[in-house]
Amino acid sequence: MSGLKQRRMLGGIAVQITALLVGLTIIFPIIYGILGAFKSPAEFSAYPPSFWPKSFAYTQNFQDAFARVPFLRYGLNSLIVALIGTTARLLFAVLAAFAFAFYDFRFKKTLFLVILATMMLPGDTLLVTNYLTVSRLGLLNSYLGMAITSFVGATQMFMLRQSFLTFPRDLKEAGQIDGCGDLRFLATILLPISKPVLVTLSVQSFVTLWNAYLWPLLVTNSTNMRTIQVGITMITSFEDTNYHLVLAGVTLSLIPAFLLFIVLRRNIHRNMTAGALVG
């Protein structure tokens, strides 16, 4: 082996190890949380603390969590809100991004800057005004009310526009001459190519909506319209620390996001390679 090759290999190993360490650091709290869901209260207060639970057959925490909070119903509520929100958000983002990428119109730059500017507003400052709007629309205590504020997202719009801009405009115009209209171009050419971006944005959007806490709490009043994050607060004890139950709840709430990621992850990969071959 030549010196250069050896050095390159060593460098590769160093990069891999660093990546592994960073990855482990990021995922450690999640793993520790999941392991914690299988620990008994006594194991939690044991000193020094243990990393592994005594037994993975200990499911009392999950049973208790289910007995206290209707997790299935709350999970369903969260799922509905997250799906409505994600679908609408992507739909509007795709259409807006298409316009900003391929159309020329007056004040295009200004409008785009206005949209970008909304990203600078912290969500909390909009809480009261959004509440007022949703309340006047008569949408309190409904799925639509919980999801509607997430229908338009500047981040998604921006990301998609950037992605669309990489598509050669000449190619689109060539298609247009051959009779390929805007909608057809969008649906049959642009969207399939942009699948990796779309998938990434969907996952990110779904997880954000799934994890939403304050807004769903604010606009719902009846107990059976609660979302899963509110459910987790319901088993949190205010005066005491019952981490075992809370972690069981958190572990349950992680499942859909994990599933979604596993299913869509393949998609991201496949399309990345597909894109590479075409390029």
Binding site: S45, N221, N242
Partner: protein
Amino acid sequence: MTKRILPLLLAALMLFSLGAQAGEAATLVFWHSMSDETGLLLDKYVNSFNETIGKELNVTVEAVFQGQYSDATTKLNSILTAEDYGQLPDVMNLDATGKVAYFNSGRAWTMDDALKADPDYDISQILPITLGNWAFSGVQLGMPFAASTTIMFYNKTMLDQAGADAPETFQDIITLSEKLPEKSDTGLDIIAYSVLPNTPTLANWLGQLGSYVVNNKNGSEAMATELACIDNGALETFLTEWKGMYEAGALTNAAGTTDQFVAGQLAVLTTSSSNVTSLLEKIGGAFELGAGYYPRVNAQASAGATVSGSSLVMFDKQDDAKKAASWELVKYLASPGVQAEFAAATGYVPVNRGALEEAGYQALVAEYPQYAVAADQLAATPAEMSSVTVGPAKDFYYAIQDNIAMMLDEDLSVEETVEIMADELSGLLYQYQQANQ
């Protein structure tokens, strides 16, 4: 076609809904922040109210969990800002974070109002110090519901083995630490006492010395504008005793945790009295749990600590029948029976004197005397002692904590520390005042 049918349909719908309302019981909305087991208990009380008094009055109470107290207060503030008063609940479980919002809501139907409408209610059955916690600017806002105070827990087995008595003052903790062994059976370093003072703990210890931390009775009567513990020397007295305890090796300059206490590493733990049930559970018989009054700064200091917890407040939904029913619910939740059971199950202090006479509560105290300590301590606490309400709550909290910790870490003199704290804390109050005029 549709134009003609639509009004007809709507009219039919309206008639239908009117008909439905007349027969059904009115719904009373009750927001609370009681989670976990406490939440289940509250549901139980609400159900039994619905089955009894509710049936007589033809109302059904709907108990809704609204997140933690601070979340519920955010929700309350949103509704008030939006002037969407129809969304307000009839009764709400509020902690200190929501006190001012409720007072300023313009829709408050305070406990004073309810008492005017119901002069027969015997208010003397409610512990005055818990009532005082929910008075603001001379108005009794609501009824105390869950009350807790800070008490001292100690590892009785460890103390007995060392031949030490339960400490009452800082000096006693020093004496105790001299008797304790250096290491536990499991090889852990034994700590006598471990606390980082912050706003509530400082309010307790200065309160024992007859002083407030800030003016206007710790901000309970009006916005606090300046410190009230410098000129009277109270802060200096406290810091002197505190430093003495540290220098004698009895105090560790860190926040002692429940886990350390349960593991048999910490001899004395000061924490909320409502932790008694969970502490007993966690210790599970590994050692005997002792409970006593909150330690006193010195032999001259009075006993006790401030009260915290939550209250029940009512809103004016412009419906006299609902208001009357709300008051009935509040009275029921503060009644001796409910308070006795609630206290026994959670470790909160009963706010109703009558609860102490209930058979269930007495049986519990006979078996676990630890439960009685908080109620006894509250009865012994001077009624003027009040928790601190300041605008810059968070900064204030950390300024106290950091400066006292720094005094011990960097061996600053007491006089120096008093000066630094006076500067920094007054500065925070002044800035808040300037920003909120």
